[in-house]
Amino acid sequence: MSDLIKKSASELAALIAKKEVSSREVTQAHLDQISKTDSLIHAFLYVDTDGALAQAELADKNHDARKSPLHGVPLALKDVLAQKGIPTTCGSKILEGWRPPYDATVVTKLKDAAVVILGKTNMDEFAMGSSTENSAYGPTRNPWDTDRIPGGSGGGSAAALAAFQAPLSIGTDTGGSIRQPAAVTGTVGVKPTYGGVSRYGLVAFSSSLDQAGPCARTVLDTALLHQVIAGHDPKDATSINAPVPDVVAAAERADVKGMKIGVVKELTGAGYEKGVADRFAESLAILESQGAEIIEVSCPNFRFALGAYYLIAPSEASSNLARFDAMRYGLRIGDDGTKSAEEVMSLTRDAGFGDEVKRRIILGTYALSAGYYDAFYGSAQKVRTLITRDFAAAYSKVDVLVSPTTPTVAFKIGEKSNDPVAMYLSDVATIPVNLAGVASMSLPAGLSEGLPVGFQIIAPAMKDDRLYLVGGALERELNSKWNGPLTHQVPDLVVR
């Protein structure tokens, strides 16, 4: 294994800047690791070998212009973001073969920063799931234990990091799809404040909840990527027109002295595995020893969050996914000259969508239909208000909130795939964040029986820098105990 691939993005960027190594060499090393390991892991749906090498050569040619602190560093892109000319499927058969004619704003920013895009990563179809088992192209495997799920929906983006196929990746988080995969793969993932990163070119699942964000193996790398992709975009009407919080400075300062850290009472206790609770308690002790004050806070309405989410997200999805109508792009089935547009549309949507997507479209259509709207969608929207009030009350007492990211470590592939409600519980601690639009990070807290445990930090809207102050401080102490990032303990992959 090339030692280049074990390095962090900031280390690679420094080597490239000093011309000790070229972007092409770094990119080739990661492409080699992908071709060596991805038959087992299946993190990628598409590897853009030629395109990545061309981008790397361009980065080397423009070396002296140093476009960003990540100049020349490779990255894996979740397949829900449009990249011009590159297949973009969202893990769905309905978009098989579609090549977008334009770049998402996140992609434009990555290209402008001379970040090299290696390819597109696997995901639950249209980002609906917590395991990547809902991908139409087969599941991704967790590099820590290849019989287990890498989380979802961004399992490909997280597994690519843990398998050293890429030092950076982009995820999207509607109910936890960045943070839950980060937790179960021992990597770092941030869901920025809603509106902090442009959604232009991000295929919509639930527009009031979706947010793209940075993923990496270290807190500093995550901050550097956050800085590259964040900021106001006139092409997204919900993009916040305000300066990006200085997340890189916060990651470098990594100091919690005098901070008040609130433990969310409702996100601990029953339902959380012992190993998860133990690593969480140890992390709290570290933060306290570093000078933070730990305070228990109650957010009583969080117990309604999962229910509200599984009404709001499917409702918005049922509307957003109406665009897959077999007319303008993607799959078209049954157009034999005898069928109407409506028949073709209905046949195509049955053939092109997988079970979970159909389940959520039906659920959302039901929740929005006359006679049920007030009882379901209307009630869920009120819960959203209550949860936002809980956050406001908590932040009047503390600077950030914390909890375990997930109640359990990675489960086995197939274990929950026939029980949608059990699968939905994977996101119980991450969902309140999306409903309120606040910012959140998951970072590794250690292992439980050989599998990673995630520590979640939640900051008020547009205070994303606080995630990095706390995450950076905790990581410094833990990494010194582990002699490096947790991912250095990933077992060697045995590719059969």
Binding site: D350, I362, S369, A380, R384, L386
Partner: protein
């Protein structure tokens, strides 16, 4: 008593323009019922005095100066179309008459 019958799922699927097969209908009816049971807890959460919230941000209309900027060419716009003709999307019949 189930909240949602097989016929109700079929009716909703038709509204959502998805032709579900028989075995899909039977499976989905039970699953949607289970999910509705799990999410019905939201009905106990808030009284009539709590306002609904549709979005984390206050949405305001965004405008820009009316200036012509480059956009996709017709070829690029049609590049992913299942069928096209004369710079237009070609679609199946929409009015029900013989083609």
């Amino acid at each position: 008593m189930p909240r949602i019958s097989r016929d109700e799922v079929a009716r909703i699927a038709a509204l959502a323009r998805i032709t579900l097969r028989d075995e899909e209908l039977s499976g989905l009816a039970g699953q949607i019922d289970g999910i509705l049971d799990a999410v019905a807890v939201v009905q106990e959460a808030a009284g009539a005095d709590v306002p609904a919230m549709s979005h984390p941000l206050e949405i305001t209309n965004v405008t820009r100066p009316d200036v012509i900027v480059p956009s996709l060419t017709p070829e690029a716009s049609l590049s992913g179309a299942p069928a096209s003709e004369e710079s237009r999307f070609r679609v199946p019949q929409i009015l029900g008459e013989e083609a």
